[in-house]
């Protein structure tokens, strides 16, 4: 099916999610979630534990089928596409970094980064080696080509996963809890790295996180999900939300359970 229903189009929005409902059987996890992500945004999906942040991300990359609603990437209707079209789109345009890194444990770092290149790029072996070295060097892992994921630390695994996600120069980078389990310094460095790469690769970045320092340091747009009402309760730049939102839940989340402080005034 080459013909796709044209979506309502807004100016320069890169990802559009419309009336998305996600359910496990009869249990509705979230309903009527709609938002736009603009090209070049660093977009955070915020919310407390168990509100379905990661599941929303999994749905956006096709690992879970939504119960209702549509996801558009540009003009591409992802929810209506076939398995093959989705696969082709994901490998061409998306890079995904999973919560635990999800590096293939039986392969070295170099082989992890090289796999998408050997399968899809059509580069020569020498060119692939060069690309792998470059991508690993970009995330600060030069010289770690022949290490296995189990031989390096958690922070290094996350960076290696980022190198793998960037292997095919994606337009959209997804991060599931990038700083979970990292110490503050590694987490800060990863944030800097994401900012730097977004800038130089001109990519759109979607991040699932509940780490406030990260949210304020890098995001310029986002939504907040709420476990109680099972939908999104806020949309916009987190810094602006923290300063101006009227919703007590948003204020509480963005101010660590406190009343609004002077910090973001």
């Amino acid at each position: 099916m080459a013909e796709q229903t044209p979506a309502p189009r807004e100016r320069d929005s890169h990802i559009r999610v419309r009336n998305l409902t996600i359910a496990f059987g009869s249990y509705v996890l979230m309903h009527d979630v709609s938002f736009d992500v603009h090209r070049g945004d660093i977009f955070v999906i915020m919310g407390g534990s168990g509100c379905g942040k990661s599941t929303l991300l999994r749905t956006m990359v096709g690992l879970k089928e939504p119960a209702k609603g549509d996801i558009y990437y540009g003009d591409f209707n992802f929810t209506a596409a076939t398995e093959e079209q989705r696969g082709a789109f994901l490998r061409r345009s998306c890079g995904i970094s999973y919560q635990g890194g999800a590096l293939w444990s039986s392969m070295t770092l170099a082989e992890n980064v090289a796999l998408p290149l050997t399968e899809f790029s059509g580069y020569s072996a020498a060119e692939i080696r060069r690309q792998v070295s470059l991508k690993l060097a970009l995330v600060g892992l030069r010289g770690f080509e022949d290490y296995y994921p189990s031989q390096i630390s958690g922070g290094m695994q996350k960076r290696a996963a980022l190198a793998r996600a960037m292997a095919l120069d994606p337009e959209i980078l997804f991060f599931d809890e990038p700083s979970a389990g990292l110490d503050p310094i590694s987490s800060y460095r990863l944030d800097r790295l994401i900012l730097e790469l977004r800038h130089s690769l001109q990519a759109t970045v979607m991040i699932v996180t509940h780490e406030l320092p990260s949210i304020f340091a890098i995001a310029n747009n986002g939504i907040m999900l709420d476990a109680e009402t099972r939908t999104m309760i806020a949309q916009g730049d987190p810094k602006v939300l923290a300063a101006t939102s009227k919703d007590p839940k948003v204020i509480e989340f963005l101010n660590r359970g406190q009343e609004r402080t002077q910090r973001h005034a």
Partner: protein, 385 residues
Amino acid sequence: MANGEAQAVPQEPRAAGQRTTGGAYAISLSGDWTGKFPLPQLGSLLEEISRPPRPSKVVLDARGVGAWNSSFVGYIFDLQTHCTEFQVAVERNLLPDGVARLIALADAVPEKTDARVSHARDGFFAGLGKKTIAAVDAAAMLFDFLGLLSIAFGRFVSGRARTRIADVFEQMQACGADALPIVSLISFLVGVILAFMGAVELERFGASIYVADLVAIGMLREMGAMMTAIIMAGRTGASFAAQLGSMKVAQEIDALSTMGISPVEFLCLPRVLALCLMMPILCIYSDLLGIAGGAFIGSVMLHVAPRAYFHETMSAFTMSDFTIGVVKAAIYGVLVGFAGCLRGFECGNSSSAVGYATTSAVVTSIVMIVVACGISAFILNLVGI
């Protein structure tokens, strides 16, 4: 300290209640609440509190309490929960400071009333129905996976699958060459056992030499393939399930699919192919070792000359027995690989699920092997081979 002596000898915990003139119910608590002694029963106190006319409030006085730990806090919390049910207020002013704080902390978030999971047992028919639905779902999943694997194989044959030949060889090494020691041991012993079983009867007729026929036909037609398959189920099928299951838990399989690489083509096909290719070879090896085991018993226990034993074996050897064994081995290989990969892919998201997947892979493999063996015996009998 004045009560230093009292602390040295632990006192039994006591809780005594009485109605006061003001309409309240006072409970005075004393002794050491450290769990060394059985705690006083809550029942009689609650009965008294719930008996109309109900007291206006319950006053807890714990000034007589010596040492305490969580058992004391739990007792008070339980008491308070019941009092709330009776709509009787509890005054906690006279509790030790730490206890009052812990109770306040436990009260900070109200109970989520719909959070409790009901463990009501299903009736016979409801249970049967649920089991049936689960069995149908499991069967649907099995055929679903069989379909995926067949499609992947079709794509492999036409050269479009993302299966790496290097992976197939790596798996062949792991499930084939690396299994030689255990296959050698088991096959030799199976040959020995077959020879012993036959020897007891055949020796009575002075027909010890026919032990060679028994062992040769038994190993070639059934036991070589069967024993190799059982070893593979425990060794390789289990390892497939454990490996794929942990990859699933670590989201490595998700990472493959979102990269547009089919996990079935990339992970399952090399494993199933490797087993299907290695099993016939292992089966032939097992046949040889089994016959060697029989020959060992023949010459040591039954005093059959090795040369005679060899000749008898050769005369019993038929190409059809040999082929049946080898073909069966290939089929068993596919079954073991299939079961291992299926259970690995079905694995849930926890480390205990990986253990369950592994067990389930071995059980499924062995059941399928034995069923396949039965079906093949039936068909071969019909055909008359």
